[in-house]
Symmetry: C2
């Protein structure tokens, strides 16, 4: 956040290129070597090491960047606006649009590589959690399960659709349709 403008444009671009390549590549091949990441980012292996001296640092940066993207998505969805059902639809869509991020974070439990950041994930989706609780109070969402469970199911169903797309089993359009429908039906009150 703070250092976004402290480095030269060149360094920022290279760093972003590495991060983007890492997210995309690790989403499908989590055990990819640093050499592969460098190649995907069209950067020398030396350069990669220059930006991220150790593998763990790259992984951490990927996680932090992913969480940042999620934070933006959640805040952009303005979950306080409209009915809970509408807001839920918005955040579902927003999550879906972040496919690579979800794949890299949960597909291979990359988040687990930085135990200290798991708490941050809770912060990231805190507004979603509040939305779910609000919806339960107002009678929109199922009160027979906890809001935390609804939140888990949301992540889970969105991820399932994204994964189905990734393996070519569904079109993105069909996936989004199914996700939306299932989330809606699975979470709503009677």
């Amino acid at each position: 956040m703070s250092s976004t403008t402290r480095e030269s444009g060149s360094r920022n671009r290279t760093r972003r290129a590495i991060l983007d390549a890492a997210i995309t590549l690790l989403a499908t091949r989590p055990q990819a070597s640093l050499a592969e990441v460098a190649e995907a980012a069209e950067v020398g292996r030396s350069t990669l090491h220059r930006y991220f001296p150790e593998r763990t640092e790259l992984l951490s940066a990927v996680v932090e960047d992913s969480l940042a993207q999620l934070t933006v998505a959640v805040s952009t969805a303005e979950l306080h606006r409209g009915t809970p059902a509408e807001a839920l639809r918005r955040i579902t869509h927003a999550y879906f649009e972040l496919s690579p991020v979800l794949l890299v974070l949960f597909g291979e439990h990359l988040i687990d590589t930085r135990k200290d950041l798991i708490g941050d994930l809770d912060e990231v989706d805190a507004p979603v959690f509040e939305l779910l609780e609000r919806g339960q109070r107002e009678g929109y969402f199922d009160n027979g399960v906890s809001a935390e469970w609804l939140n888990r199911v949301l992540w889970s169903v969105v991820y399932t659709g994204i994964a189905a797309c990734a393996e070519g089993a569904m079109t993105r359009h069909a996936a989004l349709e199914s996700i939306t429908r299932t989330v809606e039906r699975g979470t709503r009150a009677d």
Copy 2:
């Protein structure tokens, strides 16, 4: 299957011990070294190599064993009996009881290590697929999405509950309750 009785009792026991330890250990630490697996199985590393000369062979055996356990569970659930809703509840429960197997198969995409066995997974849950289709035809399950999608959602929700237990966020009892309720509501027709 065929060789179950072809080896000495001792060899069978050792093999099972290794397989069980591998499933349990890999469920939580998929990148565990063979030395760790051997230790968990209370077996020398040499012995491990004697049964599974290469890591890939151990992984394959784990996948095959997991699929076999799933096959038994599916057939035991007798999905043709009773209403689709009842049958769905039975298989949901059966999947849940196979927590370690689900964790090792899907938690770390171990199934992906043997592309040729992904097809086998389809065979394993073919009866479940048929159940979902039957339920759709008979008006029990949502017709607005494909049976394949319902199947994916089933796996996904069950896995979510299992994972929540594994990280200590829920008791097994609470997880099963939530899973059952969410699967029921997410898949049923209006």
